[in-house]
């Protein structure tokens, strides 16, 4: 009998108890075995795709209502837009046909916008933007913040994963979750247009519409994915990331809206219409809307003309033909007293309500595409750069 090395006894004593060590016949070998299988060092895109796929799976499996309800609502909105479009187009076509047949005895509807299909698609995107924001908050706030909280970055970066792989993977995952929210309804609308077109030449007449549709529907997803990623990277908890992004979204929207309105009021002659248009769209949804407006080649005036909504309207004060009558009461009336009758009004009778003047509607111009792309590009690149600066395996406190 040979003496075993010292450790052999210890090994036996400390080895995990398996069926074999318990003196029974083993039905499974649960001892550690080395992995000698295939494991190549993959390129960046493959590494990022692993992370992107996991991000999508995690969010889809969790059945988040904050994602699925906006998705359903966007579908509903686009469904009704499709119906409205169908009805108005049919009525317009029929009335035009009647006008032609009756030699103008029965008039047609006034001319519609240049491209009603693009306009409907544009409306579909812009009306969905807030819901996309809600969905982005739901699925995006935890993207990196949850990893920060669970120290998951140590798991990622202890493997052949770079910061760029990680960020690209997370961004693509988030983008893949958000893009279908606007893309799928718009594609369905597009198919509906193709199917219900009263001629065979839809694609010939709108050859670039599908590409413009892709750009307009994917841009908001890219925008939200980048911004959400940036805020999430700098937060320790998903709740904090969501709150900060929501604050940013609303504050920037309010500020750009107020600034745009002030410029619009001051610039009655519309000498600085382009600047005003850009300032009015300097928000997350504003940029997305501005890009879509350019891609679909629609103007705020067309939107208002068709739907009587959707644009900011300011009434230009028109000079009154006669000077406004001076205020009747030079001194304030005692409290509780009824206002004095206006000059010229019959005794005891109130001054009739003056009809409101309806001046021409002042709408902001369409913001220029280069400006929108520049602002949108900044909104996409800067958060990613900020996230890249923050995401690390270990926090280095420099003493």
């Amino acid at each position: 009998m040979t003496l075993e090395p010292d450790h052999a006894e210890a090994d036996e004593a400390t080895a995990p108890v398996t069926a074999a060590t318990a003196g029974q016949s083993a039905i499974a070998d649960v001892s550690y075995r080395n992995y000698d299988g295939e494991m190549p060092l993959r390129p960046l895109l493959a590494r990022a795709w692993t992370i992107a796929a996991a991000t999508v799976r995690a969010n889809v499996n969790r059945r988040k209502f904050g994602y699925w309800i906006p998705a359903a609502l966007i579908l509903v909105i686009n469904f009704f837009l499709g119906i409205i479009h169908y009805v108005t187009q049919n009525v317009r076509d029929q009335m035009a046909a009647q006008a032609a047949m009756t030699g103008g005895l029965i008039g047609g509807l006034p001319e519609g916008p240049a491209n009603p299909y693009a306009l409907t698609l544009y409306q579909g995107v812009t009306w969905s933007l807030f819901l996309v924001f809600i969905a982005a908050l739901t699925v995006g706030s935890s993207t990196i913040a949850a990893d920060n909280r669970a120290n998951a970055l140590l798991v990622y970066f202890a493997r052949p994963i770079t910061r760029l792989d990680y960020l690209v993977g997370k961004w693509v995952g988030l983008f893949l979750l958000l893009a279908p929210l606007t893309l799928v309804p718009s594609l369905l609308l597009y198919l509906f247009f193709v199917a219900t077109y009263n001629d065979v030449g839809f694609l010939k007449e709108n050859p670039t519409l599908i590409f413009r549709l892709l750009g307009a529907t994917l841009f908001p997803a890219a925008l939200h994915a980048s911004l959400m990623l940036g805020f999430s990277a700098w937060s320790k908890t998903p709740r904090m990331a969501g709150a900060v992004y929501a604050g940013f979204y609303f504050v920037v929207s309010v500020l750009s809206g107020v600034a745009g309105n002030i410029l619009l009021e001051r610039d009655q002659e519309q000498k600085q219409a382009k600047t005003t248009a850009i300032v009015s769209n300097l928000s997350v949804s504003g940029v997305a809307s501005g890009v879509a407006m350019n891609l679909y080649d629609v103007t705020p005036r067309q939107v208002v003309a068709r739907f009587q909504s959707g644009g900011r309207r300011r009434r230009r004060p028109t000079p009154s033909p006669s000077p406004t009558p001076p205020a009747v009461a030079a001194t304030p009336a005692p409290s509780g007293a009824s206002p004095a009758p206006a000059a010229g009004a019959p005794d005891g009778a109130r001054e009739p309500r003056r009809p409101r003047r309806r001046g021409p509607v002042v709408l902001p111009e369409r913001p220029g595409m280069p400006a929108m792309l520049f602002v949108g590009g900044l909104m996409i690149v800067l958060p990613l750069a900020a996230a890249h600066a923050k995401v690390r395996a270990v926090e280095v406190v420099r003493g």
Partner: protein, 331 residues
């Protein structure tokens, strides 16, 4: 396509310049540093550190702030050294960090997991991140979870795990891709005695005869003593002692441990008369140092015959790791 096998050791590399490197002379190395300097801002944590880590299970010991974790982070490529060179599995940390990470497993000190995943999803995902095909990763995840004792709980979300289970899953995710080198940073942190025993048994098992080298960073000397074959003691970013545990625990003088049936003061006096000196006594276990030329067996049995004490056993004394550590730290 199979991966080109990396050099499994650094034997071909020039040895680290530290004088202590002689402690591992002839042993194949898995990692080494040469004049490695790491700074956090103005504070130098590792000042020109040179060390060699041999194959097998190696304990990285040192007081808090000694630079153990910083060394592991640098070897993983998390921190960029200001100067010097570090090589892991024959690859340069500065240029081959992704290949190094593919062959290394890290069990960090702090709790870490991917949120929202079950154990099997988490471990399989960790394997995929390392480059394993998804089907292989899931199969391997089941294997390592069974091995780590989490087979029954593999479909539970990791967030619901107890501290002990979280420690085990950290080990599982570090093992899933079959690393050649495993870094364990305080593997028994927060475990109860039973959990600690089980974790040490796993570490001991995985580091012996499985073709896997393990570096255990810990300040718990009993953990190192139970699992490791060699130790490296670090203080203020410098190696103060390193070598195989068996060599370090060898005493410089002739020291012996005796087990008596019962403690006998007259036996102690009889040994003292023959030139021996009592170093310590715990119950009936006595520790003596003898003159260098003394024949230990004859001396003890003569003293026993003289006093009527019954000697149940005696052996050359070994220093405990704690003694080695304290000596190295207080140098």
């Amino acid at each position: 396509m199979s991966m080109a096998a990396p050099p499994s050791s650094l034997s071909a590399d020039p040895p680290a310049t530290d004088a202590n490197a002689a402690a591992f002379a002839g042993m194949p190395l898995v990692a080494s540093t040469r004049e490695l300097t790491v700074r956090y801002g103005a504070r130098t944590v590792l000042p020109s550190l040179s060390l060699s880590i041999p194959e097998g299970c190696v304990g990285l010991l040192g007081p808090n702030g000694a630079g153990k974790t910083t060394l592991l982070k640098t070897l993983m490529g998390f921190l960029k050294p200001t100067a010097g060179e570090a090589r892991v599995l024959g690859l340069d940390v500065a240029t081959d960090v992704l290949r190094i990470r593919q062959r290394i497993g890290l069990m960090p000190e702090q709790e870490c997991h991917i949120p929202g995943m079950s154990a099997v999803q988490f471990v399989a995902y960790a394997g995929e991140l390392s480059g394993m095909p998804p089907a292989q990763a899931i199969r391997r995840a089941h294997e390592v979870l069974e091995y780590c004792g989490l087979g029954e709980a593999r479909y539970r979300e990791v967030e619901t795990y107890s501290t002990g289970m979280k420690q085990r899953i950290k080990l599982a995710q570090a093992l899933v891709h079959g690393p050649k080198l495993l870094f364990l940073d305080e593997p028994t942190n927060g475990l109860d005695p039973q959990g600690r025993d089980e974790m040490l048994a796993l570490v001991r098992d995985v580091s012996h005869g499985k073709g896997l080298s393990v570096v255990v960073s810990s300040h718990l000397l009993p953990d190192i003593e139970r699992t490791c074959d060699a130790v490296i003691v670090v203080r203020s970013g410098q190696v103060v002692r390193q070598g195989p545990l068996a060599e370090l625990s060898r005493t410089a003088q002739a020291e012996y441990e005796l087990d008596l049936l019962a403690y006998s003061p007259s036996f102690t006096e009889a040994v003292a008369r023959r030139g021996g000196r009592l170093l310590s006594s715990e119950g009936s276990r006595l520790r003596f140092t003898l003159p260098p030329d003394a024949a230990a067996g004859r001396l003890f049995f003569e003293a026993a015959r003289e006093t009527g004490a019954q000697v149940r056993g005696f052996r050359p004394a070994q220093r405990r790791l704690e003694d080695v550590f304290m000596e190295a730290i207080e140098q």
